[in-house]
């Protein structure tokens, strides 16, 4: 198959290569830095060197995996609540037009709220209820932005399910809720999976609430990474290793969900 190479085609390829290099270079450079000794870190142009694992040992000693575990726990609880409540709500909005078009706008408007508005009430309430050293405040804080986003995505997926499916199930004697749970949900399961992973990364990535609301001795991952920046000066090598630990799982996750996300959004999530 021979095709005439157009100038647009060349420009397109060049653009994509430039974008790929721009995306990859900082990550690769930090990954390399995580294997450098303190002396080697002073030479930014060094690409070939004998790697050592000291930084990685330091990071694991500092309990980065525990912090990652706590982040994963917070994210998992947040996403579980969001998926159950969000799929029910999204279905009511999509199929039964609950709340009218105001609901869709309201969900979008929730994105306006700066975390700085909400964080202080969470903090003072946590003190008042004596739950300031638990994960409850941070989970609620994360729900404030994960739940709207997941609901918003799911509305798009439910919009794509034909209404006749539910009507048929009702004729077959299912209750409304049973039709929703047993007939409609399986249709959007891949979409729910993608939305759940997306919500997980949102919670996993948040530092602002974590910095203020998470228990001081048991920080979550982003706060733990930031700690390598301030505690006894900057530990560049260890910090680099910690960054890579935070980056790898989400980049792998992004590979699996990108196609679903594109589908979900083009399915109607960007309509009002």
């Amino acid at each position: 198959m021979t095709r005439r190479v157009s100038p647009w085609g060349i420009a397109r390829t060049l653009l994509l290569w430039a974008a790929a290099v721009t995306v990859a270079f900082p990550i690769i450079w930090v990954a390399l830095a995580s294997f450098k000794s303190p002396a080697q870190l002073n030479d930014p142009g060094l690409f070939l060197f004998s790697p050592n694992l000291d930084n990685w040992a330091r990071v694991f000693e500092a309990g980065i995996l525990d912090a990652a575990g706590r982040s994963a726990f917070v994210a998992a609880v947040t996403v579980s609540i969001s998926v159950v409540a969000g799929s029910m709500g999204a279905y009511a909005i999509s199929a039964y037009k609950a709340g009218g078009s105001a609901t869709r706008f309201g969900i979008l408007a929730a994105q306006v709220l700066p975390p700085a508005v909400l964080v202080f009430p969470f903090l003072t309430m946590a003190y008042a209820l004596r739950i300031d050293n638990t994960y409850v405040p941070i989970i609620f804080a994360h729900l404030s932005f994960v739940l709207p986003v997941i609901t918003w995505f799911l509305i798009g997926f439910f919009d794509a399910v034909p209404r006749s499916l539910e009507e048929q199930a009702r004729v077959d004697g299912f209750s409304r809720f049973a039709a929703f749970r047993l007939v409609v949900i399986p249709q959007v399961l891949p979409g729910i999976g993608a939305a759940a992973i997306f919500g997980f990364t949102l919670s996993w990535n948040d530092m602002f609430y974590g910095l203020i609301l998470a228990p001081t001795r048991e920080t979550i991952l982003p706060v733990a990474i930031a700690a390598f920046n301030t505690f006894r000066g900057v530990e560049l090598g260890a910090m680099s290793a910690a960054i890579i630990i935070a980056v790898v799982p989400v980049v792998i996750a992004s590979f699996f969900i990108q196609r679903r996300l594109v589908q979900g959004i083009s399915g109607g999530a960007v309509k009002f």
Binding site: R12, Q111, P115, V117, F120, L147, M207, P222, L261
Partner: protein, 287 residues
């Protein structure tokens, strides 16, 4: 009909309940805080001081400085993201070879925790230790990324690195739902690729583009991690953004009342802008 209404509200109840606890209540409480002299350090009940906090912050030049820094940041970052995002989305749509891998790779930055992005660039762009200044120096260019006059722009570029993928994601989805027929009709009529893009694709893409720009602007307004990781507001107060300023006032200086007042001033401004935007959109849609 009543059973259907009951089902409808029953399904909506969990979302409404959680949103009430996680958004509605804190929002109301924050408003109350903004009317008091609440300090994290003081014991006992706070005094209600009415609008005093608002008068104080509205006449505080540091707050207006933070507002203008944030506005500059948002405009530079979102403008660049929109242009780049549109170009990359158009290129990716036609890309066939290693399609999923290319897309996943180009979308990856938006999934990385912003503090990691901030620290990575702090390191990468560092005057002595960073790879990029070293490369530029070997070309004879001396550029201090975090120096006076440059730092805010550097922060905006970090935002571009991380969030252009979000634009690409939304625009790609938008492009994929653009119907083929009008485009083919334009081709049959002998329209050039540029003309077809400008007259057929772009108008169909406008709704998605609007939502994408809106979502990105709202999110960029919340910039905190990059500032926290790199400049901490400096040099001087050149990169002090709203979110960082609020954090400092509330958490480092313990003045929750003032911090909440700043947050509500921000909320009022943003909501006004959004309402104006929607008015204009509705008017242009009606035309």
């Amino acid at each position: 009909m009543t059973r259907m209404t009951r089902f409808r509200w029953g399904m909506l109840a969990p979302v409404l309940a959680i949103t009430g606890v996680a958004v509605g209540f804190p929002l109301g409480y924050a408003f109350y805080l903004s009317l008091t002299d609440y300090r994290l350090t003081s014991r006992g009940a706070p005094d209600v001081v009415g609008l005093e906090n608002y008068f104080f912050v509205l006449t505080d030049p540091r707050m207006w400085n933070a507002f203008s820094n944030t506005a500059t940041y948002v405009i530079i970052a979102v403008a660049l993201q929109t242009l780049l995002g549109l170009a990359i989305a158009l290129a990716l749509q036609k890309q066939q070879w290693a399609r999923d891998l290319t897309r996943a790779m180009l979308l990856a930055p938006m999934f990385i925790t912003p503090i990691a992005v901030g620290l990575t660039f702090r390191f990468l762009l560092n005057d002595q230790l960073g790879a990029l200044p070293a490369m530029l120096r070997s070309l004879g260019i001396d550029y201090d990324f975090f120096g006076p006059g440059n730092a805010l722009f550097t922060l905006a570029l970090m935002d571009v690195w991380q969030w252009t993928p979000f634009m690409v994601l939304l625009l790609l989805a938008g492009l994929e739902s653009v119907p083929r027929q009008p485009l083919e009709a334009a081709k049959v009529d002998g329209a050039s690729a540029w003309y077809a893009f400008r007259r057929v694709v772009l108008p169909l893409l406008t709704p998605v583009l609007t939502v994408a720009v809106l979502l990105r602007s709202l999110d960029a307004l919340k910039v905190f991690e990059y500032v926290y990781a790199t400049t901490r507001g400096g040099p001087g107060t050149e990169t002090e953004t709203i979110q960082y300023f609020t954090y400092q006032t509330g958490i480092q200086f313990f003045r929750l009342g003032e911090a909440s007042a700043v947050a509500f001033v921000l909320l009022a401004i943003v909501l006004t802008l959004i309402v104006l935007l929607f008015r204009r959109l509705q008017r242009s849609a009606a035309r």
